[in-house]
Symmetry: C2
Subunit: 387 residues, 2 copies
Amino acid sequence: MIESKKKIYLDYAAATPVRPEVLAVMHPFFSQEYANPSSQHAAGINAQKSLQQAREKIKNALNAEYPEEIIFTSSGTESINLAIAGIARANKNKGKHIITTKIEHKAVLETCQYLSKNENFNITYLNVNKEGIISLEELQQAIRSDTILVSVMYVNNELGSIQPIEEIAQIAKKHHILFYADACQASYLNLNVHHLGIDALTLNSSKIFGPKGSAILYLKKGTLLHPIIHGGGQEFTFRSGTENLPAIIGFAKALELISQEKEQEILRQINLQNKLLQELKTKIPEIIINGPQYQKIPNIINISFPHLEGEQIMRYLNQHNIYISSGSACTSKEITTSHVLQAIGLPENIAKGTIRISFGKYTLEEEINKLIEILPNIIKTLTKISG
Amino acid sequence: MIESKKKIYLDYAAATPVRPEVLAVMHPFFSQEYANPSSQHAAGINAQKSLQQAREKIKNALNAEYPEEIIFTSSGTESINLAIAGIARANKNKGKHIITTKIEHKAVLETCQYLSKNENFNITYLNVNKEGIISLEELQQAIRSDTILVSVMYVNNELGSIQPIEEIAQIAKKHHILFYADACQASYLNLNVHHLGIDALTLNSSKIFGPKGSAILYLKKGTLLHPIIHGGGQEFTFRSGTENLPAIIGFAKALELISQEKEQEILRQINLQNKLLQELKTKIPEIIINGPQYQKIPNIINISFPHLEGEQIMRYLNQHNIYISSGSACTSKEITTSHVLQAIGLPENIAKGTIRISFGKYTLEEEINKLIEILPNIIKTLTKISG
């Protein structure tokens, strides 16, 4: 009886809790070390030091060359906007063509659309295959003499599919085009910006068990960028506003911890993924598994049940205190099927029956077992009703 | 001996600590109620409810008409940028002229400069008198047929001077021009947007004993505004990005508390101000008190000591563990004298010897007494050295 009240959160791709170790290091910065890092007295100087230490930690985690390459922003979305609008506006004298993909996060797509509608930029949206991966040939063909930026997400937030970032970087470099990657869902992958050969990259604290309110834009030194938030000149003039130190300190700690645990955690998650998919395939033969089999992160699982409704499956699971998503969190209020599922060519009757299960550090095997027990019954019930 | 180690923070205009009552209400939102308010499961729906309650609280504190008039952003600076760039871009078909003042925060001035340099807007910067107050006649005369926006700060962050907001609002209204006020330092004043007759207003959590990472833009319903951060369509499409719920909850609580304590606290601060100024005037006859005598908030005190250096006074006080500012926090890294002191016509040899003392809720009378004891000795010492 008690057990049935336990909440099983399987929506880690939408938001993660702050780890206790992270909250602990944030704590002094709320009410004791609260000074403005721009202040010149001892309290301000200490705040500035803490800020620089956090920046240094993140620089090291990404193997960036200079601390000035790490720009703190308030969210993944802000960082994405800063990268795309900032690079576009600062480099428009070289050209006004941007290449991105059809499966980017709304923050990328809407920023591109704004630039297209209001500032006369031209955008090419690359297709993806059935697995949600772009074609390098199509990318090559899309490049024009006025292309200034390629923006491709590292990992898709609905499918978990991983793009060939290094190859894209090489192509961009060959054509002297800047390459930016939204890496918000890629925290367990290789984030060595030097090896990746990338010019700009976004990472978000709130997706890696850090606090909301912090994210970074890695920006290779020398890359031209206009700020989108102007003012006191903080963050090397790229992003003004008093630094959110508690959140920045927490983010740096969260990234440090995740970097240490990466290999072990990814193996654990692969086991959870494989068990879940295997059991569901056995119990629900009509299940369709979206996204790639291997070129994906294990903690995002996207599955469809033809002729059913994802929303309804989500609600039934919710009644069992199991929390999943029927689409991307940021767009789940819209009734239309996800642009990502459309891009991989999923027929609408299948796309409508899609759910996303995403797990994380605190997901236990017994929680996955519970899902394996309950989901097939729900699918059976709903199939009966709809039939 | 112990007493001399006690820190006396008198830089509240730069940053405030988070109140314990505020931190307490934020706490559950870090690691328990961490879901994304856009998620459709029970945890997401609860997060959405908490978000709406916070919005409602702030709506009520400002006497706004609709909850949709409260847009959460990540900082005062972001909110200022959103107001000015957002209104300018959305209304440019009506004209490209903006009126502001010479003593605005850098966030206003730099945003205006960006719009002027990159998007062909024309900016008029109003003068201020010796006390840091604009002339309504000059405002009237500055209005052109293509003026779309008047942006005047409610309270200046260096001088504490209060602008005649209601009169400005009336003039703007008469000419069908939008009126925006940066109210980041005005939390103890009348914030009733209905009475003020204002179209847009910025308030910042981190200046009112709330957490860093949250601010609002009040935007009167129907006012046209382009977002500066695009994406999932949060905040009524005006500001995308997953909502920073812990910070928002904390901000709403901080504003609620400050609204309750306003009258009492402002009286207490007037007494502290009067005592401090009276004693300093007696002990240091050469002191110059900048800003208005009455049309100001009591907790920002701006004083000059001719032929001395504000930086040096600040450092000497710092050695006694007294933390003040030698300029505005956001610009204190620059060596040039403050644009505000230039605008009130302070000669450079006086402007250079200026310090800002700003106090707040936790400032005790004994701390002011300590300052009254120590500052005159420092001025005596420095005068000897410089003489």
